[in-house]
Symmetry: C2
Subunit: 647 residues, 2 copies
């Protein structure tokens, strides 16, 4: 086995940043450049800016009306109105026009009476400088308009041009080069189809999009293989370019093919390797030839933390900006969330508001997970000094979406179904869109979430063998104290998902016990799992007889992917999942997939909208088009003992 | 006098927006376009996006270490460690690599012991799928990745590429054409010097910079003269281009040269003319050929309100985005602020935090003012239904800067001096910059602000003729209950600012009473005004003898600009103001310009930093370089009766 790296002492993010700022000479690395004012919004001034001309540049009318000499109007009163002659004692004037010589006030058009002969009449005196914008009222030539290190807003651009400032000194945009690495990575620009052992490189594009948000200039080079010489050459090319920062993607960890540390050691000084943050630990920070070198982890979740926690603050500091900051909001954590002492942990949260209360349900925490990050409304941190957060505790979340949109989030926690994806998309198509955010934890997990106020609705398809009913017996058992309404989403068909052509000839439960058949199961508590266990008991088959019974997946689609890849021969799931991947399907049983809704939310506009949508023919047609569903109960309120509603 | 327009019934912003949304056919106006995924951050999906490939696309190692078959490790315990042979019963593996066939778990590198013979030893069993990322754990092929009408984040780009989605349907960016109008406007691209009656056109560039922030595509055409035919031609050209929105700058009001309304009436349907909002009233909203037409007011403050309150929400709606929203914060208004019933009024606020308290001091409210907008930290609204806000009332402000920066804002309310500009710029050059925000209300206004907790420091140069002392007698009178510390900023020279060469030969106070001399005064309460009045009394000159005594300006520079423009022959002010505009200066008297600081803030880091800066030689040198100042007291704590410290 070849040489592996050893992490330097693990550093906190704050310490790593401090080392970076100390090691870099910002004034030598980043230059001031002169740019045109009208292209300067979003840039940062490198020097104070003084006004060149005043605004207004002359005494001008602030209203449409007549310019007068105020002193000549002093007698005007309601009982003794005054006549003025246009062109002699008064002058028509529009807003912004210069005052004629010897006038010093403007009478509004609304305040005059037009006389038939062309004269005008006023019944109140003007005072000096009434409705006049005087020279320099807004901006005075030579005064300080903006100090150094000021981020230029659209308003600033207007003020600068108004003040005759055509160009100004700003700090350069920070230029950054990203070098993707890895024998296994495929260049997305070639639109590749990954073979086993290959992945599509996408971290570079997360990097580029974030960098643009920071006001930096990102660049990406083609992926480099896991070869220290090639990596060294790429890093040297980056250092010799005009880039201020070079980022190496992946290869910063402790694996046998992680050469970044070695290359950074050769070319400069490594400041940090290994951070006390999760995800994001395998981050590498170095300085070479006065430039910043970053080794970013390969997992996207870790890479993003490296970008946002380490790179963003340093890039902001180099560019004399404030580091990007998310709006904050206090949320109530709906689930106990343990964490490792000594490591700051970043959680991804689904957040929705109910009145003043913001409910936050944490997503799964894998460093490799992008799917949770694209659904999350917020992040939160568990400090290194703690061992986790208790259920119901309040914590400060960092919002990824505007705060006002949280009241439009509908939190679903429960079983996954493709009709929910359909619902998610439809609700975003409304004139006033709602965001249905799903956390897939199975039917029982959903009921627990309802009990803990962690969900607003819960998708549930729990079959009770004893009563032959769906969901209600479980509600009585798990949610005895919560008043809920049960609305059917659809009747769906569960069956065996098998490879195309059903090569193993699986046609009944008995086939699962065959030695040549491998199965993939759903997780404990999932309605599909309960359905399987019921049918196994009825057929007299013990779980131990089934190879792969212990192999658990959390969604129908994941079960289907297992079958598609050949990892398993079959699994229990829904037709739409099989069809989506071109697999075959052997029906086992129809079941009722319901939405459980706390009665307290029945008048919530999110719920009302959802129910209205469910009851439209158009939506039911879309469910039918998925295949494997019946919509005869869709949108209807269910009662205990109704079963499939067919008896 | 030519024809003037009449406003339609004044509408609320909400009603105007509703009319716009009703009149426009969004689905016909804005098309979906296919763009490359890696260029899609910040765009909005026009259709649901489904994953094409799964992630991970195969079972892969989640850690660096050894891949094993979990079942073969079940006997390993601390007391009975298990030997494994690389290449046979275990396989070295790096994070992200595919699991070798028949393995189903990874043992972390940290958990193995390397034996001398090349074998490894483990003292704990692995469980199936330990440290393994399973196929589709993150993303499952065919599942919904993103719904329609979703704003694409950098994270989304990563997820889309990972899922093999190379391109996707998004809504077009909203294209907008801005037509500046007006005989008096100068094209900024020609770098003009405005003659009297001319102004530099800059609203188009505020518009363009804002539009880019909204994710729209702005375009500006050359200014069009005040001529209905030319305006009509320009609007038609805009309607015939690919623009979705055409905005006409200025000319939307009721003046005789405001042709926009007439042109819009001819070409389409006017929906609103005149809004119940201030600034921003003269806004015009129309629809022609299915496109949106906007007539924006000419004053920058009004134009910005039109852009942000009317255009931004409609552009967001067209592009299926959320309208831009500013973070909100509750602030305490430090000054009673009246407002007109029936008109929603937008205030610009200087905001700084002291502990949990956010103090907001409103700036002047002229529609033409850009200088206050570039200094403001927040906006706030006085609702149409009210007649204003009481002093000390809490109100919700919309932040223009990140909330965290408010604790770095140092609110100065008081007399203006050029050394304050110097200080403002120096404080922004610190490693941890502070923002000194000034509201110029004169010395007495500053003391009132301190009394009302509206300021953190106050620049003051009030001379008391009776005691021959500066500031302290006024503190005793106006702030008897507030413990304050007085620190000198500089001794400065006040004198007559006169035209170059002093053509009127002004050399003493007596000259002010000459019939051929016009004066420009400072506002009541200003230290300079008090100084003048004192010297006039001593010289036995009555204010009525001075032509222009009633003409008040609020800053030294504004006084100087009056002299430069010939509007006045002379004014009392400081040397630096005269010198900055190339004017002459006739000294009258030195005076002490002090900073008054509440004792409760003496340990505030902002104040500590300011005092430290004042006491550096480098800063005092910069004051001296301005000319007209002495720094022998700069940074020193003053005591009552000290005068100029020269006796």
């Amino acid at each position: 086995m070849s040489q592996r790296n050893i992490y330097l002492q693990t550093l906190t993010v704050a310490d790593a940043l401090e080392r970076g700022r100390t090691a870099l000479e910002r004034d030598r690395l980043v230059a001031a450049v002169t740019i045109q004012t009208h292209e300067a919004a979003g840039r940062v001034t490198a020097a104070p800016v003084y006004a060149r001309v005043s605004s207004p540049p002359y005494h001008s009318a602030a209203m449409d009306g007549y310019a007068v000499r105020a002193e000549e109007t002093f007698g005007a009163r309601e009982e003794t109105p005054l006549k003025l002659t246009p062109g002699r004692t008064c002058f028509p004037i529009n807003t912004g026009q210069p005052l004629p010589d010897e006038t010093n006030a403007v009478i509004k058009i609304e305040d005059i009476i037009q006389l038939p002969g062309g004269e005008i009449e006023i019944d109140a005196a003007a005072y000096p400088w009434m409705h006049v914008r005087r020279i320099g009222e807004d901006i005075v030539a030579t005064e300080l308009l903006l100090p150094q290190n000021h981020l230029l807003s659209p308003y600033d651009i207007g003020a600068l041009l108004t003040a005759g400032v055509w160009e100004l000194e700003t700090w350069e945009e920070i230029r950054m080069t990203f070098i993707p690495t890895g024998d296994e990575v495929l260049d997305f620009t070639t639109r590749p189809t990954p073979a086993p052992g290959q992945v599509i490189e996408s971290n570079s594009q997360i990097f580029c999009a974030l960098a643009r948000q920071w006001g930096a200039q990102p660049r990406r080079v083609s992926p480099v293989a896991d070869d220290p010489d090639k990596l060294r050459a790429a890093v040297i090319a980056g250092l010799e370019s005009d880039a201020h920062v070079v980022v190496v993607g992946a290869g910063s960890s402790a694996g046998s093919k992680d050469f970044t540390r070695r290359v950074f050691d050769e070319l400069g000084q490594v400041l940090a390797h290994g951070l006390a943050i999760s995800p994001g630990k395998p981050t590498l920070l170095a300085v070479a030839r006065g430039k910043l070198l970053i080794g970013a982890p390969g997992f996207p979740g870790s890479a993003i933390v490296c970008f946002e926690e380490i790179l963003a603050p340093l890039v902001a500091w180099l560019g004399r900006r404030q580091p990007p900051q998310r709006p904050r909001k206090t949320v109530r954590l709906s689930r106990k969330t343990p964490s490792r002492l000594g490591i700051e942990e970043i959680l991804r949260l689904a957040v929705g508001t109910c009145g003043a209360q913001a409910i936050a349900t944490p997503f799964g925490r894998g460093a490799g997970l992008l799917s949770t990050l694209i659904r999350a409304q917020a992040l939160a941190r568990i400090p290194a000094a703690g061992e986790g957060i208790e259920q119901g505790a309040e914590m400060e979340a960092e919002l990824l979406v505007p705060e006002s949109s949280l009241e439009r989030v509908l939190l679903h926690v429960g079983s996954h179904d493709n009709t929910l994806d359909l619902l998610t998309n439809e609700m975003m198509g409304l004139t006033e869109p709602y965001r249905l955010v799903s956390t897939n934890v199975g039917s029982l997990g959903g009921l627990t979430a309802l009990k803990n106020d962690a969900a607003m609705i819960s998708g549930c398809h729990l079959f009770d063998p004893q009563t032959q009913d769906f969901n209600f017996p479980f509600l009585q058992r798990y949610l005895p104290d919560l008043a809920v309404t049960v609305v059917n989403l659809a009747i769906r068909h569960q069956g065996f998902i098998v490879a195309p052509g059903n090569p193993k000839g699986i046609s009944s439960l008995a086939d699962l016990a065959r030695a040549d058949v491998s199965f993939v199961n759903r997780q404990r508590g999932a309605g599909t799992r309960i359905l399987l266990d019921h049918h196994l008991r009825q057929a007299g088959i013990a779980p131990q007889q089934i190879r792969g019974y212990q192999r658990e997946e959390h969604t129908h689609m994941a079960v289907a992917v297992n079958v598609l890849s050949g990892a398993s021969d079959c699994g229990l799931g829904i037709l739409s999942a099989a069809r989506a991947l071109g697999l075959d399907f052997v029906p086992l049983a129809p079941e009722r997939y319901d939405l459980v809704i706390p009665d307290s939310l029945l008048n919530d506009p999110r719920i009302l909208t959802l129910l209205e949508l469910l009851r439209t023919e158009a939506f039911q047609k879309k469910i039918q088009d998925l295949g494997g569903y019946e919509t005869c109960l869709t949108g209807q309120i269910m009662t205990a003992g109704q079963g499939l509603g067919r008896e």
